[in-house]
């Protein structure tokens, strides 16, 4: 075994790409993706306001929209220019305060305020829609308050008159809707899974030369693959733990009992590698093994169920999702980090043992492609 590990080490030393893949490439990738989302809370998003009324009320509403940290009001003289800016993606929402807004309000007619938000940039659009509604409601409440007081409603009852039912909303497990806490862990896990897949596929591909192929059968694939797993396992676990240290340690996102994620990451690695070994025996060509593994693992992030809920996926997508080790890992991860539920975590984590079933076709393929006796003689 020691000789096999030494062999892996020598091979790694002479392969610049593989060396990069287990050292700085993942670190660079993790830091880059985190940096990209490091703003964490979208703020100062440009909103076009077209004030056609130019009254004290319309100006006040413009100010209340601007007062929200999420919105950044940009005034446009007319709708044509504002719409053009919308289409260019320079502003993400457009609020039109209509002519006679103040007059209609005073007369008790119901004026209409138009809000258009960019649904193409879904995340920003939804956020702005909610924020603009809140800001406008807040501004209008002030008006209604004055109105009610002037009609002789006692000040104590004004609030109940305006809004008999108020609501209090709590974002569980991510109190301030921090996008780093929401998006970065699953993205980094997806990247980590890709790195794990690539390093192992590269390590396996080295056995593809005719000489190595035959030697591997003499030595026994179990020992050989075991040595690779033993060699690359700790390296990748270090990267996996680095992700956790970055996100939950350095950035201080709330998390509970992170120790348990180590065995979970180990299970994920094993599941990914079982896939790689199966594809390796299926295709037996380095470029094709990589292409196929890439095709399989590249969309893993979409199937995690973090961005789009699993329950709303079609059945076929839910099945495909079960084939991805990362979707099991992330569910276990959320069970632990958010819910602090170790039992549920193990339930999701141990489901990954199902990937052991991949061994059956792998063994069959390995047996099928064994060097035939006559060929061996011809070579020797």
């Amino acid at each position: 075994m020691r000789a096999l590990l030494r062999r892996e080490w020598l091979a790694l030393k002479h392969d610049n790409w593989q060396l990069a893949l287990v050292s700085y490439v993942p670190l660079l990738g993790f830091m880059l993706l985190w940096w990209l989302f490091s703003a964490a809370l979208p703020r100062g998003l440009p909103v076009a306001v077209v004030d056609q009324d130019h009254s004290s009320i319309s100006r006040m509403l413009g100010r209340t929209i601007n007062a929200s940290p999420v919105n950044q009001v940009i005034d446009y003289p007319n709708q044509t220019e504002a719409i053009a800016a919308m289409r260019r993606g320079e502003v993400y929402a457009l609020v039109t305060l209509p002519v006679n807004l103040r007059r209609d309000l005073l007369l008790g007619k119901q004026p209409q305020i138009d809000v258009r938000y960019n649904g193409q940039f879904l995340l920003v659009g939804k956020l702005l829609s909610a924020q603009i509604s809140l800001s406008l409601a807040d501004g209008l409440h002030q008006l209604a308050r004055v109105n009610l007081l002037s009609h002789g409603v006692p000040s104590k009852l004004v609030a109940a008159h305006m809004q008999p039912v108020t609501t209090q909303t709590t974002a569980l497990f991510n109190v301030n809707n921090n996008y780093v806490g929401f998006l970065v862990p699953p993205i980094l896990v997806a990247l980590w899974q890709l790195i794990a897949m690539l390093t192992f596929a590269n390590a396996m591909n080295r056995e593809l030369t005719p000489g190595h192929w035959q030697q591997a059968y003499q030595q026994g694939w179990f020992k050989l693959i075991g040595a690779k797993a033993l060699f690359y396992g700790p390296i990748l676990l270090v990267h996996g733990q680095f992700v956790l240290a970055l996100v939950y340690g350095y950035l201080g996102l709330p998390a509970e009992q992170l120790v348990w994620l180590l065995p979970l990451q180990l299970l994920t690695l094993l599941a990914v590698w079982l896939w790689v070994v199966l594809i390796f025996f299926l295709l037996r060509d380095s470029a094709r093994v990589i292409s196929f593994c890439t095709a399989l693992f590249a969309p893993a992030f979409a199937f995690m169920g973090i961005t789009f809920p699993t329950a709303n996926m079609p059945l076929l997508a839910q099945w495909w999702r079960e084939l991805m080790p990362s979707s099991h890992y992330i569910e276990a991860h959320v069970s632990l980090v958010s819910y602090g539920n170790v039992g549920l975590m193990w339930q999701h984590g141990l489901a990954m043992l199902g990937f052991l079933l991949l061994l059956l076709p792998t063994l069959a393929l390995a047996y099928w492609h064994r060097p035939k006796a006559d060929k061996v003689e011809a070579l020797s």
Binding site: G29, L33, W35, L36, F37, P42, R43, G44, L45, A84, M86, R87, G89, K109, Q112, I113, D114, V115, N118, G119, Q120, F121, L122, L123, G125, K126, S129, L140, L143, A144, A159, H161, P164, V165, Q168, T169, T170, L172, N174, F182, L191, L198, N202, D285, S286, A287, V289, S291, T294, A295, A298, F301, F308, P309, N312, M313, P314, A317, S338, Y339
Partner: protein, 388 residues
């Protein structure tokens, strides 16, 4: 060998190369189905919510019915206390909770303000926003009905009462992607990125396999070779793009506001710039399994830096500058503005010119790269012949 003959040889070579064919044809077709697959139901609906009803009155039951009637919320359980509901969330049996406080009806009838509390699992933002939106709407409805009843009881006329409840009508509408569907949000940009990445991979594998051997790639000058290979890939990608931007956009009902002519005019520099960049990229490799790996790792950063997932204004500026060198980034933005958001041609002109600029830049780099590969091969051959 004529130019046409060369291109034909090139296309046949790459079609016969199973690693390239797997990525170019298999990958593009496979991803056309697989990537949109989780999203085809468009929006998140029927999120499970547990109710803590501490009031047990007619009004609290009405509130629960209203919440359950919302398309975004499904009441799955009743809990005796907040702790019990919280335990359900920890067990993943519910994604949110609604608390109706004790004396809900009593206080409302007495004219006191009451507060409904709700919470959602913010580990999943789409679930959270669906729950909050559904419950807020239900709460507002219950509130405004009470207000209306109160006003009517005080003798206000029905028409005036309705206006008093809502003094301003808020007409809040999403544009460009009216249904706020996930496929329409992700697909336009993502599909261009898939074309971009697979083209890079195809060129990379083809080049990496050839640079160390003599072959048809040496027949013409580096400039001609680069142009011819760009042409042969552009021909293949004209078909693949037509499939993605024509058929798939239509099938998945993505916004299609630009005219055919405009889309073609945009795709021309996009494909040429991508092909030129892919050619320059391919000269960096001599191992056939590497280009796929590099492009795979770069995919997620390119997608997220493009500006439609995460707003450009809050992405660190150095990353944005750097990303402008990737043809996919101006390509995706121009396509979104032109085709999905209906911008006029003059508005996307800067991005279009940027694509041509990138095309020129990478063409030069590609020619230089091929030139160097040729020198390296000549040196290697000379060395080999000396040995013999």
């Amino acid at each position: 060998m004529s130019y046409w003959r060369w291109m034909l040889t090139d296309i046949v070579t790459l079609a016969r190369d199973r690693a390239i064919a797997l990525t170019l044809f298999g990958g593009v077709l496979f991803y056309a189905v697989l990537y949109p697959l989780p999203y085809i139901h468009d929006v998140a609906t029927e999120q499970s919510v547990a109710v803590v009803d501490l009031d047990n009155s007619s009004l609290s039951r009405q509130m629960i019915r209203y919440a359950d009637a919302s398309p975004q919320v499904k009441i799955v359980a009743r809990a005796g206390s907040v702790d019990e509901a919280r335990a359900m969330i920890d067990q993943n049996q519910a994604k949110g909770l609604l608390v109706i406080p004790a004396n809900f009806r009593h206080d409302l009838l007495r004219g006191q303000q009451v507060t409904l509390s709700f919470a959602g699992d913010a580990s999943y933002f789409l679930i959270y926003s669906a729950i909050v939106q559904g419950l807020t709407t239900a709460g507002l409805d219950v509130g405004s009905q009470l207000q209306l009843q109160g006003l009517l009881a005080n003798g206000t006329l029905p028409a005036a009462a309705a206006r008093q409840v809502a003094p301003v009508a808020l007409n809040d509408v999403a544009v460009f992607n009216q249904g706020l569907g996930y496929p329409a949000y992700v697909i336009p940009g993502l599909f261009l990125l898939i074309l971009h990445q697979t083209l890079f991979i195809g060129m990379g594998i083809l080049g990496a396999g050839q640079w160390r051997q003599t072959g048809y790639w040496q027949q013409f000058s580096p400039l001609t070779t680069v142009c011819l290979r760009m042409a042969s890939f552009s021909v293949i990608y004209a078909f693949l793009s037509a499939f993605y931007i024509g058929w798939c956009y239509y099938y998945y009902d993505v916004g299609r506001q630009a005219s055919l002519g405009q889309v073609l005019l945009l795709m021309l520099p996009f494909l040429l710039a991508t092909a030129a960049a892919g050619m320059a990229f391919s000269t960096l490799f001599v191992r056939r399994e590497l280009p796929t790996q590099v492009m795979l790792l770069s995919s997620m950063p390119i997608l997220f830096v493009a500006g439609f997932v995460w707003p450009l204004s809050i992405i660190p500026a150095p990353l944005v500058w750097l990303s402008q060198l990737v043809p996919a980034v101006p390509g995706m933005m121009a396509m979104l503005q032109l085709n999905q958001m209906g911008a006029s041609w003059s508005q996307v002109l800067p991005l279009w010119l940027q694509l041509w600029g990138l095309c020129g830049l990478y063409l030069l780099l590609a020619v230089w790269g091929v030139h160097r590969r040729r020198q390296a091969l000549a040196a290697q051959l000379a060395e080999d012949s000396e040995k013999h």
